[in-house]
Structures are given as C-alpha cells and as structure tokens.
C-alpha cells in the first residue's frame, strides 16, 4: 500500500514537472537509458548537470560583471549552459537561456542581467524539485523505476 502510494506520488510529481514546463521529452529519453547496468543513470546525469552548471553560472556571473562586456564570451558560456540543460530536458532553463542569448545578440546588458537572474532562479527551482523527485524515486526503488520508465 505504502509502496504503491509512493509510486503514485512519484508519477504525479513527474507529471507536475512536465506540466509546469520544468522538464521536456528529453528527460524521458534519459530515463529510458537507465537499466540494470546503470540503475541511477538519470540521477548521475542530473548531478553532473548541476555540478557543471554551477561552475558555468559562476563564469557567467563573472562575465556579466566584467567591463567591458564580452558578449561573445557570454553567449558562448550561455550556449554551453543551454546545451547541457537541454540534454537533461530542463525546458525552462533552456528557454530562459534562449532569451539570454537573444539579449546577447542585442548587446543589451540590462536584458542579460534580468535574464541571468531568471536563469538562476529557474536553475535553483529545478534543482530543488529534482532533488526531491530523486529522493522519492530512491524510496520507490530502482526496480520499480526501471519498469515504469519502460512504459
């Protein structure tokens, strides 16, 4: 009983993440990659993403505050961030990155700043949400998860 409840909870949570636009199809693809040989693949990837992205965010922050602004470098940093974000299916982060890139293109520092704040916010929200999701998932257990991801 407890078990199926947890499972339902997981599914609901994931659905919420999708409905609210935090995640996209790519996340499902990641889950499909998960099997017995790499039972925690999704979590590993996501961990990697957050590790990598916090470094990138720092870099971006520095680049924004640097004077004169090197929009080209900013763009390439955000591009990297966007790339890894889209790899795990972080839809909102990815979209905000696109906005940031557009601001870069317009050489609008103000826009970049605003966008960056949003990115950071989205990033933090996603991190928090995904962490709780994975926590839940761990409780459900790898076996069940593997089956559900196949469906």
């Amino acid at each position: 009983m407890e078990y199926s409840n947890l499972r339902r909870q997981t599914i609901f949570m994931k659905k919420n993440l999708f409905d609210q636009g935090f995640l996209d199809e790519q996340f499902n693809q990641l889950e499909e990659l998960q099997d017995e040989s790499s039972p925690n693949f999704v979590e590993e990837v996501v961990d990697l993403f957050f590790k990598d992205s916090s470094r990138l965010l720092t870099n971006i922050e520095q680049a924004i505050d640097k004077y004169p602004q090197d929009f080209y470098r900013l763009d390439s940093l955000v591009h990297q961030f966007k790339g890894s974000g889209s790899s795990i299916g972080a839809l909102r982060v990815k979209n905000e990155c696109s906005v940031f890139k557009a601001h870069c293109n317009d050489r609008s520092l103000e826009g970049c700043r605003r966008s960056f704040q949003k990115i950071k916010r989205e990033h933090a929200t996603l991190k928090q949400k995904l962490e709780s999701y994975f926590q839940l998932l761990r409780q459900v257990g790898p076996r069940e998860h593997a089956v559900s991801s196949r469906k």
């Binding site: 790519q26 990641l30 990837v45 990697l48 790339g83 890894s84 795990i88 196949r150």
Partner: protein, 971 residues
C-alpha cells in the same frame, strides 16, 4: 501728274478682279499685294514645271455642269459690277476734267481782260499799277497752288525794271506761254480720257473671264506649288481629263485621255478604280487610303479624296480626286503601331513571367512545406518505430508479437513514404549531392539481390548476370545506384507473382561516340542522354546516345527540367576512362499497360488506381529512380508487355578508376589489391526459391528474414533478437557463442570488406539455398550470418587474418573496436554522458574526445565509421576540425598545424598491419554536426565545413538512430 493719277483706280479695281472663292476675304489685301510682283513669277513657274495637264474640251463640258454654270454666273455678275464701277470712275474723272477746263477757260478770260486793262493802263494810269499788280498776282497764284505743285514751282523771272513798259511786255509774253502749256496739258488729258473710254469699251466679258481664270490658275499654282498632292479629274470611263501633279513622272500627253490601267500597273490600282466606280455609282464622296506598289513609283501610300461630279441634270459625269502621298506618315504610323504592339507583348510577357515566377515560388514553398512536414512527421514516427522495435525485444506472447509485427510493417511503410518524399524533394531542389566512390558493380548487384532474396515472401527466382566486360571497379555514387537498383528490384518483386526477377549488367559499346569523358564534355552528353524521354520504348540505348551526341541542343532542355549539372564526373582527371553501364531489371510480372507507360515516372502516379489498391506503394519510387539516374547523367527506360513482364533499363556513365589508386571502398579486399581480373568474381548469381513454410505465419521466421536484412545492412546488431544482453553489451559477447559466429562477427565488425569474402564464397556455391540459410541462422545461437555450403571452412582463412588485424587495431583504439566505431567530439560533460549512454544502448562503441584538436588526433590514430561532432568547443571548434579532416582525406596529408607526432610510425604500422589505415586516405568519414541551434545558417556552416549532416541537440534516440542508419556503411 498722269502716272500718279492712273495708279489710283488700279488699286481699287484689282482686288475685285479675284474670284471670291479663291481666297478668303480678309486675306485679300495680302494676296493683292503679291499680285503686282507675283504675276511674272507665276508665269515662270508655269512654264518651268507645267505641273498640270488639261483637256480643254472637257473643261467646256465641265463648265456646263451645275457648278460650272454657277461659277459662270458669278463671273458675269462680277464682271458687270466691275464695269459699272469703272464707268462710274470714268465719269467722275470726266467731271473733274471738265471742271478744270472751265476754270482754265475762266482764267484765260481773266488774263485776256487783264492784258487789255494793262495795255490801257500802260498808257493811261501807270501809278495805280502797284495796287492792281498785287491783286493780280494773288489771283494768278491761287489756282496754280490749288491744282498743281508743278505750277507752284513756276517762278516768273523778269529781268526788266519793275513797272516799266518792258517789264509789262515781258510779263505778258510769259503769261501767254504758260497759258499755252496749260492748253497743251488739257489736250493730252482729254486724249487720255478718250483712250480710256475706248479701252473700257473694248473689255468684253469673255476677255475678262479668261483673264480672271488665268489669274486664278496662277494663283492656284502659287498655292499648290509646293503641295505634294495630285489633283485630277476623270470622266465616267475614268479617263483622265485633268491632272495636276507637282512631281510629274509622266508628260501631259501620257496622262490625258487615258485610264489608270493604261498608265500604271501593279498593286492598288484595281482597288482605287473600284472605289472610284463606287463613288460614281453612289454619288457620295469618300476618303480612303490606297497602298500602291507600281513599277513606276514604287511602294507608296496615298490618302485620296474622291468626289463625284454631277452634270446639270444630276447625272454623274466623272470624279475629282485629290491624292496626297502619306508613305512616310504611314511608315511612321506603322512603326508606332509596331512599337505599341511590342510594348503590349512585352508587358504581357512581363505579367506572364511574374505570374509564373509567383507560381514557381508558390510551388517551391509548397515543396519546402512538404519536405518540412515530412521531416517533422518522420522524427516522431521513427521514435514510434524504434520504440516498437525495442518492444519487440521484450517478452511478448504470440498474439502481441503479431500485432507488433503489423505495427512495425505499417510504420515502415509510412517511413518509407516519407523518406521517398524527402528524397524526391531533395533531388528536385538540387540539394542532392552525388558522392563519387569506387565500387564493384558485381558486389552491388549481388547485395541488392541478396537483400531482396532475404525479404522475399514469394516463390521467385532472383538472378543476376553481369557481363564479362564490366570493369571490376568503377567510380560512381554507389549508394544512389544501390538505391535505384533496390527500388527497381522491389518493384519487380512486388508485381511479379511467379517466374523470375533479375538484373543484367553489361557495358555498352566500350566507346560509343562521344561517350568518352573528356573534361566537361561528359556533362553535355550525359544530359543530352537524359533528355530522352524515359517512356521511350527504345531498348537500344547506345542508339539514343548516338542520337544525342548529334543533338546536343537538348542539353538545355535537360538542364531546364531542374536537374542540377552533374559535376561529379568532371572533377576527375581527364585520364580516367569512362564506360557506360547498362543495367536491366527484368521480371515476369504483370507488366504495364501501354497507356500507363508515359505516367510511370511521374510522381504519385501508378499504373492504375487498381494497382495502387492492390499493391500499395506511394508511386514515388520510380520518380526518384528516374531523377537519380538523370542526376548521374544517365537515362532510365522501360519496356513492358502486359502479363508478360517489364524491363527497366538504365544506363549510367561510370569511370574506371586508375589502378594505382588505393580503392576507397570497403568492398575491396586486402588480398585483391593490385591485380584482379574479372574472373575473380562470378558474373552471375541465382537465388532459387524453395518450398518454405509460410513465413508470415511464424513470427520467428519473419524476424529471421528481417535479421538477414539487418545483417546485410549492417547497422544494427542482429543479436538483439536472440539475446537481450547482447543488445546492451554489444557484440563482444557474441564471440563466445561459436567459432563459426565468431569469425563471422569479426568479419562483420571490420566492415563490408570481409563480408565480400563471404559472398565470394557464396558465389562459388552459385546457388544459395535461402531456406537452408534461414534455418542455419535460426539454429546458430549468435544469430550471425552463416552460410551452409561446401566451402564453409575455407572461409575461415581470410577471416582469421582479419581477426588478427582487428585485434591489432584494438590495441590502438578503444576496446570495443570490433564494432561500428563512433567518435564523439563533445566538451559538455552532460551531453557526453547522455550521448554515450544512448550510443551504447544502440550497441555502438564510442570514443570520446573533448575538442576538435583531440578529434583530429583520434582520427589520426584510428579509423572511425562516423564522427559526431559538437560545433562549439574550446580550443578547436567542430567546423575547424572537420575542415582539417576533410583536407586530409582529400590530399592524404595533414595540415602542418595538426600533423601527428608519430607520423612515420603510424604509416609504417598501417602498411604492415592495418590496411584500414591506408584506406582511410581518400575515404570520407561521415561527420555529423551536433548543434544546439539547428537553424539554417548554422546548418549551412556545418555543411560548408564539410560535414555531412547535422542533428539538433539535445541528442535523442530518434535523431541519433536516424543519423547512424543513414551514414553508417551498410555494405
């Protein structure tokens, strides 16, 4: 005094002498002035030019006409008026002269009286004289002053002393003289008056009339002098009675009394005469243009006013006409009309052009749309299909399996359709690029047949026959040729229920005229050849070829059909020899009705709707084949007889590669380097049907079938069917299964070259028993291709060697090198993790490097089947790296900036042990860009850098699988 006096009446009479209808009244003054001087000039003009000719008799007749009479009446009236006027003037003059005379007589009387008185006074009262004298003097002077200036000048000079006797005598004498002179003058005046009166009486109306006429004539000449017109009168027989022609080409006597016909001949005369007759008949004047073309004055246009002339009684007695030469005006007018017409045409053309341009744009957009949509549909569809395939690997019961089977086959069909549409739009838009590679036509034919045999569900014999003269290797786009062959064969199989389907490949006459490739000449020939309509039934293609070398103008037409110029063959050295290969794909199927032949190669067209319903298919296949063949510079024809079969033939120009060149095709065996003869490979294959259980009924055998296909296409590890573990772990574990499968597996892993060994062995067997093959496959645990034949053991020999080699390679490359080798170039750790996991799940081994520089080093050390390249990377981006790799492939040496450190070592080791390393020079490894923004600009950049395609990030199963399927060598 007399001269001046005469001038006065002349001035008054002259204007009234002109008939009023000649000049406007208000212009009278002007004309009158001219008269005095002009009279002589007019005479000159007349005598000089004699522009008019007249029949005077006719003039009398004319004068009798209504107009003539009124004219005459007018003249008479006028003359009468003038006479009266003259008479009045003369009377006035007479009156005046009489008065003068009276005065003179009076004066004479006075003078005589005075004389008398003076004589008296001379003797009597002398002293009273001064007073009288003064009075007299005044009286004497007065009339002279009044009458004449001449008299006034007369100064009486008297030398004698005043008031003496001599003085008076002198004076009297002088006065006497003056009186005498006065008398004389009076007499002369009288004489003149008399003369005038006499003159006046001698002026008869006739004289006056003729004089007037003459003047009118002069005047007319003056006016008409420079008018480029012809005025003429003709009688009822249309004989000229009068003509005025400013530029006479004929003398009077040549015209008067003659008809137009007698004078002129040629175009327009008849017409003019008809109109004249019409005018005479109807009595209504008319104005027309006549175009003449006569020997006399050439081509001229006249505008002619023709009016009828009526007699008093109202009968028509002839016509007057006035004609004016308007040739120049007509020319100008015509020119204007012409220009206007041309303008209109131009405008119409422009509108047409813009409309067609618009339509073309629309069409292009529609096509683009279709392509985009197809692409959009393909991505999710392939997702569905791949998932379904994965699903097939899970444990399913029989019913589920069958359902899944239907699902897969339907999905495959849709996917095929979409691929066809994409292919077609690619060819049509000119985006299709041909890639020149060296290949062995025998292999290709065999593979195509094998593939077809593998999926054969009917009892058909598949055969292939390749002429001895077909070169072992030729250069061309093998993928496209295979596509064409596969398409034709699958069509043939589809429409054939019993009998056989086969391929004949042979060389057309080694050097048909004009078929040798010399620089760009081939394009011309190739295209002109392609312009032969595919529906043409002519089976003798060399004839077409000859024909077309003569009519190279067709080249343009061919180009206009949207086939981009085929540059592939022109790029090569002129030294390479070309052959025209002719390939016939024949069957003994239902055939094609003759009326459907022309539609056969049209898009979405099938022989009939019935066929479409019965056999399915999109109707795109043949269209694609035709386009591809034409793109390669060949032609595709079909000959067919209903219920007997069809033969699709295409001819292609292919070049024979120079022998010294290292072959760049994986088909080439290491052992066959240098010298092969055609006898090395068999020239015919036969795949015979055998009684087999219905394959459809058993899911397993279907899968086997499928598996053979997969195996041959070599992009998917076949073992998934048997063992799920293999799927995830890759091929390596399959090696353990059996010796047989090990060797095959390793052969497989080294690419199609090894398989060609297999197949040569197969050829020796001549007949492949499909059924047995299938059995053996299902019995072999590894599920790899095995061949049951007499030579099965021999096969091991070469494969063993290859195994060693692959081991050698292994030591240098990643451990999973005995599979398709993929190089992933990506700097983003997350992306790497995802992509790697996906590729591994798909059963591929990958090497990972983090930037372009590392990618180059990796390529220098190992042979990859495909490179997935991120675009944005630190140190060296993907574009740059691709450029370096491509440049190496083309030139065989690395750019100095990226030269491998141990160049020599590698090349020597490659020579001795790894032939793949030698081959890689010149072989084009597919490089796929992974781009986050797959917008057109970025894509263009990628393609420009030498990449083959791109997939958009994030990498997912669909796009990566699609890409691998497309670019991994399938032979």
């Amino acid at each position: 005094m007399g001269d001046e006096y005469l001038a006065e009446p002349e001035d008054e009479v002259a204007p009234s002498m002109w008939p009023e209808n000649i000049g406007d009244k208000h212009q009278k003054q002007f004309k009158m002035e001219k008269l005095g001087k002009g009279q002589d000039a007019l005479k000159d003009v007349r005598f000089q030019e004699k522009p008019s000719s007249v029949d005077f008799q006719r003039l009398m007749e004319l004068a009798n006409s209504e107009k003539g009479v009124s004219q005459m009446q007018y003249f008479v009236k006028h003359w009468e008026y003038k006479r009266a006027n003259t008479a009045r003037l003369l009377k006035e003059q007479i009156g005046f002269l009489c008065q003068q005379r009276k005065e003179i007589e009076q004066k004479k009387q006075q003078i005589l009286e005075e004389q008398h008185f003076q004589d008296e006074s001379y003797y009597a009262v002398k002293r009273q004289v001064p007073i009288l004298d003064e009075v007299y003097k005044d009286e004497w002077k007065r009339p002279s002053k009044k009458s004449d200036d001449l008299c006034h000048n007369q100064e009486i000079k008297i030398d004698a002393e005043y008031d003496s006797i001599s003085y008076w005598k002198e004076r009297a004498m002088q006065l006497e003289k003056t009186l005498e002179a006065s008398f004389q003058r009076e007499r002369s005046l009288e004489e003149k008056l008399e003369e005038n009166i006499k003159n006046l009486q001698s002026h008869t109306p006739v004289e006056e009339f003729s004089g007037m006429l003459q003047r009118a004539d002069y005047f007319l000449h003056l006016v008409l002098q420079s008018a480029p017109i012809v005025i003429a009168h003709q009688d009822t027989d249309l004989r000229y009675r009068f003509i005025f022609n400013h530029f006479p080409t004929l003398a009077d006597e040549d015209v008067i009394g003659k008809t137009d016909y007698e004078i002129l001949s040629g175009e327009g005369i008849e017409e003019m005469n008809n109109v004249k007759k019409e005018v005479m008949a109807s009595g209504i004047p008319t104005k027309r243009e006549f175009i003449f073309n006569t020997p006399l004055f050439g081509a001229k246009t006249f505008v002619t006013y023709i009016e009828p002339v009526f007699s008093k009684s109202g009968e028509t007695i002839g016509v007057n006409y006035v004609a004016m030469d308007i040739t120049d005006q007509v020319k100008r007018r015509e020119k204007m009309a012409d220009i206007r017409v041309r303008e209109a045409v131009q405008k119409a053309k422009e509108t047409e052009l813009s409309r067609s341009l618009h339509i073309t744009e629309e069409t292009m957009r529609a096509k683009q749309m279709l392509a985009t949509m197809s692409h959009e549909i393909r991505s999710p569809l392939s997702g569905v299909l791949s998932m379904a395939e994965i699903l097939a690997t899970t444990k399913l019961d029989k019913e589920q399996y069958q359902l899944l089977e239907v699902m897969l086959s339907s999905g495959d069909l849709v996917l095929q359709l979409i691929n066809d549409i994409l292919d077609l739009s690619k060819v049509e838009s000119g985006a299709m690029k041909l890639e020149s590679t060296t290949f062995r036509p025998r292999e290709v034919v065999k593979h195509v047949l094998q593939t077809a045999a593998a999926s054969l569900k009917k009892e058909l014999t598949l055969e292939g026959c390749i002429g001895d003269d077909v070169p072992v290797e030729v250069t061309g786009d093998v993928l496209r040729i295979r596509q064409i062959l596969t398409n034709l064969i699958s069509n043939a199989v589809k429409f054939t229920h019993e009998g056989k389907v086969g391929i004949n490949l042979h060389v057309l006459d080694k050097q048909p005229p004009g078929c040798r490739i010399e620089g760009g000449q081939l394009h011309m020939k190739a295209h002109s050849a392609s312009s032969v309509t595919a529906a043409e039934h002519s089976s003798a293609s060399p004839r077409n070829c000859d024909k077309d070398t003569l009519g190279c103008s067709n080249h343009e037409d061919a180009c206009n059909t949207g086939i981009p110029p085929n540059n592939n063959f022109g790029e090569h050295d002129g030294g390479e020899e070309a052959v025209w290969l002719r390939c016939d794909v024949y069957d003994t199927g239902i055939g094609i009705p003759e009326k459907s032949l022309p539609l056969l190669f049209k898009r979405y067209m099938q022989a009939s709707t019935d066929h479409a319903r019965k056999y399915g298919g999109t109707g795109l296949g043949l269209a694609i084949c035709k386009q591809l063949v034409e793109l390669m510079g060949g032609t595709l024809n079909v000959v067919s007889k209903e219920n007997e079969g069809s033969t699709f033939s295409f001819i292609l120009p292919c070049k024979i590669p120079v022998k010294e060149d290292h072959s760049d095709d994986p088909d080439v065996m290491p052992s066959s380097h240098g010298d092969f003869t055609t006898s090395d490979i068999e020239g015919s294959f036969l795949f015979k049907p055998q009684a087999r259980p219905c394959l459809l009924s058993s899911g397993v055998s279907v899968m086997n079938n499928k598996f053979i296909g997969c195996n041959l296409m070599s992009y998917h590890p076949p073992s998934i069917l048997e063992n799920h573990k293999l799927f995830s772990n890759g091929f390596a574990s399959a090696e353990d299964n059996s010796a047989n499968s090990t060797s095959t597996a390793s052969c497989q892993s080294n690419g199609p070259s090894t398989r060609s060994t297999d197949e040569e062995q197969l050829d020796n067997a001549m007949v492949i028993d499909l059924n047995r093959q299938a059995e053996s496959i299902s019995s072999s645990q590894g599920g790899t291709t095995s061949v049951s034949g007499p030579n099965i053991h021999e096969e091991k020999g070469p494969c063993k060697v290859l195994e060693d080699k692959s081991l050698h390679k292994k030591s240098k490359c990643s451990p999973s090198s005995n599979k398709t080798k993929i190089l992933l170039v990506e700097d983003n750790k997350v992306n790497i993790m995802v992509a790697k996991s996906m590729l591994e799940q798909l059963g591929h081994g990958i090497d990972i490097v983090n930037n372009g520089m590392q990618a180059i080093h990796a390529v220098q050390q190992c042979q990859y089947d495909i490179i997935l390249m991120d675009v944005h990377m630190p140190e060296m981006d993907g574009l740059q790296a691709t450029k370096f790799i491509r440049s190496f492939e083309n030139t065989g040496c690395w750019d100095t900036s990226v030269k491998p450190e141990h160049d020599q070592m590698i090349s020597s080791s490659a020579l001795s042990s790894d032939c793949a390393c030698i081959r890689k020079q010149g072989k084009r490894v597919p490089i796929i860009a992974m781009t986050a923004n797959s917008f057109a600009e970025s894509a263009e950049e990628c393609l420009a850098a030498g990449m083959d395609s791109y997939i958009s990030k994030p990498v997912n199963f669909q796009n990566i699988k699609e890409c691998l399927q497309r670019y991994l060598p399938s032979q």
